[in-house]
Amino acid sequence: MRDPFTVLGVAEDAGDTEIRRRYLALVRDFPPDRAPDRFREYRAAYDALSDERKRLETKLLHTNAAALSRLSAAALHAASPGSARATKRTVAALLNEGIMRTVTD
């Protein structure tokens, strides 16, 4: 199981409103008919976080692999973010990826 906070991309102290808003935004981008797996993942994460009691339940009652998910995130973010710039080549590759995806879809 992934850390539901990471799946939805919200901070651990996020409130009900913010979590719901984020969930709805994700579902709008990945509706169940187009991305059923992602939708299921978002839905499960939202179910685990949708209110204060559920968040406590997730924290207390589940031996969560989410902790591992958080650990790997911490490892990834050990460096200071946003200080460097990407290379021209990387950006071009990224743009080309989007272009190719558009014409392939």
Binding site: R2, D3, F5, T6, G9, V10, A11, E18, R22, A25, D29, F30, E52, R53, L56, E57, L60, L61, T63, N64, A65, A66, A67, L68, S69, R70, L71, S72, A73, A74, A75, L76, H77, A78, A79, S80, P81, G82, S83, A84, R85, A86, T87, K88, T90, V91, A92, A93, L94, L95, N96, E97, G98, I99, M100, R101, T102, V103, T104, D105
Partner: protein, 834 residues
Amino acid sequence: MNKPLRCAPAPSVPIGIQIARAGEALRQERFKEAIELFKPLIRQDPRPEWKASLADAYRGRARAMAAKKMFKEAAMVLENTIAPDGTVRDPRLYLTCLIRDGQQPKAAAYLLRCFGGDGVLPATERAALEDLAASLLVAVPQLPEASRAAPSEPSRWRELAAASREALAGWINGASAEEMDRQLNRISLRSAFRPLRLLLKSLTSIPRDDERTRHLLETIHPGSPFYPFRQAVEATVLGERVLDAYAWEQLTPAQQAFVAETRGLPVAASQFLARLSEAAQGGPAVLFGYLTKQPDLPRAEVRNACLNLLPQIPDRLPQFEKSFGPLSDLERHRVKALAAEARNDWEVAERSWRAAAAAIADGGTDRQAMLSQGVIYRHLAHLAIMHPEIEGEDIFGDPVIFYLERCYTVDPEHIPTLLELIGRYRKELQLKDWHRLVDEAVQRFPDDSQVLLQATESAVARKAYKMAAGFARRLLKINSINPGVRRQMIELQVAHARKQMRAKRPDLAAKELSAAAEWERPDAPSALLRIARGLVSLQTGAKEQAEVWLREGVELAGGGVAGWFQAQLEAELMNATGGDAGWLRQELVRARETPPTEESVMTIVSAVGRPEAVENKRVVAGLLLGLRAWLLQAASFNWSEAEFQALAETLARFDAFDLLQEYARAARRRDPANPAWRFYDIVARTKGNADRLSMAETDDLFEMAEAAARREDFHAAKRIERFLDGNGRVSAGRGRAAVALPDTIDDDEMAALFMAMMDEMPKGSADSLRGLVNELGRDATVAQMVEKLRSSPIGPGMPEPLLRLLSEAMVAKAMGGGRSRHGGKTRRSQLFDA
């Protein structure tokens, strides 16, 4: 080398035939042939419709090639269709072919040319291609040259493209935030280059406002060519929240490179992820060992990850404490509880969870602490439902209620717990607690529809009509339809009216029913209310109105026998069968001339299942007896098991065992293999009394119960067990003491009993008797049988020698002695002698 065309145009072929052939080839999607046929025609006479057909043929040919991934060739074929304004027949296909062939600069130049003015591209096509054009114009190494005859629109596009490219280059080269702002302001937010502006703005905004950034980025939708860029930027700027090992793996190599470059991630980070994944595959112990040896990782996160592994490897607790220091009380009990759950040790799990809740309580009484305790107690209540081992040392009564009560104490605002506790009180028949808690709930949550529904039901159960009506009205304000509450209120008032009618006060009953009518929705009229009003009106002398209501009610109740049966039943319940109500019976008799249908029979089953009918068993039994012949016609219907079940329960409940037997036998004839029919056949034969079971039937039922349990049909297994226990619903003897044989048994009865027992001695019993004889010897087995029979229902009525004789005969039969006719007679005579 090209293959010769199947239908090459001969110069002598008339033009009409050539056109027909070309058109046919196009229709049949033989595009190459169509092209070759149209070309000479157009050379002779360049008619617009032929040119259009030729372009269609080219497009078809290009599509076929693109489907075979021959993108270069497909693009070349489409270039044959270039119009004077520079557009091709299918711009999107053309661009796809160019891009997939790696000719991005050519695609960009084409698009720049296409946006050269109104009408070059249809509006919908243009809108669909704008995002692609913007991304291409940013991505290509060089901006395409301006067309000589460039109208104003391409130059605007060029300007925006140039500004976007400069801004992107500025960011790559490390331009300052101010410089970036200046550059980004040149990109119109209303242009197709907006996504790039948002992306670069998100990357350079300082101080960063994550929420605003997210809002901005979310406007770049998944179909946009800038979407992969958006994902990479999100991972970069919102990384702490959205990026973990899994999310990292989901990124494409280009996105990973972007994130690594912009976040300055060390190579070790991605290597760590790979090693972490390997260790995780080795199991919790391996992973635990790996994590504790990672000094460079954030300590708190490593501790948290290891703590969450402990329930799977509780033996590593000392190692954990050595590495990270002692666990808190809560953590220790939580780990123990989760570990116990993992090994299904529910007693330890319960003890540990309770200790964890106590540790939280010791730590403080703030909201979080109270809610956390509530979470644990609710969890314990749910565990107690599933695992009977959870019963607590200090719990007297239902452990589920005990834990729900505790949960309610620490978290009284949690409505689901409150409703669960109310439901549990009700189920366990703790009626005082049920009503008390409902009263509390409705005061605390006066506008909650679930609570109001409970309050209505509680008031109905207390016969507090006014209170129930008040709750129901409040509930209907929240949900004006709510058919359940409306029906409940109508039933409640009809019940009152019945009482008034039985007390010979039809005037009061009429008042009651007028009030009940306010609960009726015009689009959902109540059959029960119409019938009741009709019956009351008959008594008050309003005969015409009575007949109208009764006929309406009967129709609503299903019409025919089903409808008139319900009217007759209600008349009986109201004690309103005399005088003018006689015609109801006549209507029912007349309706019986129509043969039954499955639906009409099931409607009757449903009607007699109502509590007021069940409470008046004698009345219903009498009515069913009147319908016997009519119901018999339905015995041979192809009833489903569920329908049959409902029917059989009803027939047994009202002692209609002869009907039940007919139904069961008909069902067995249709489907001899289904044990359900056999069960009800036995129920019918024994008149629902397990004490009348023969040994063979008993064994059969045990086998049926076991088979049902094996196929996980626990309802059937329970039903059979309940019947065998003598307290099944099918049993007419429910609640009665076990009936032994009569005190005095005459010889014939005893002989018949003896013969029946011998005849029906099943194979299973014979086997077990043989086993006993082999184990204990013949005499000891006979002695044991005597004891068994003595304690059976027939025992008290049998003298000792008779019991012994019977036992000996059974043992003899089991041991293969059989029973010849003569042998039977011999034993019979022995029996009489005895």
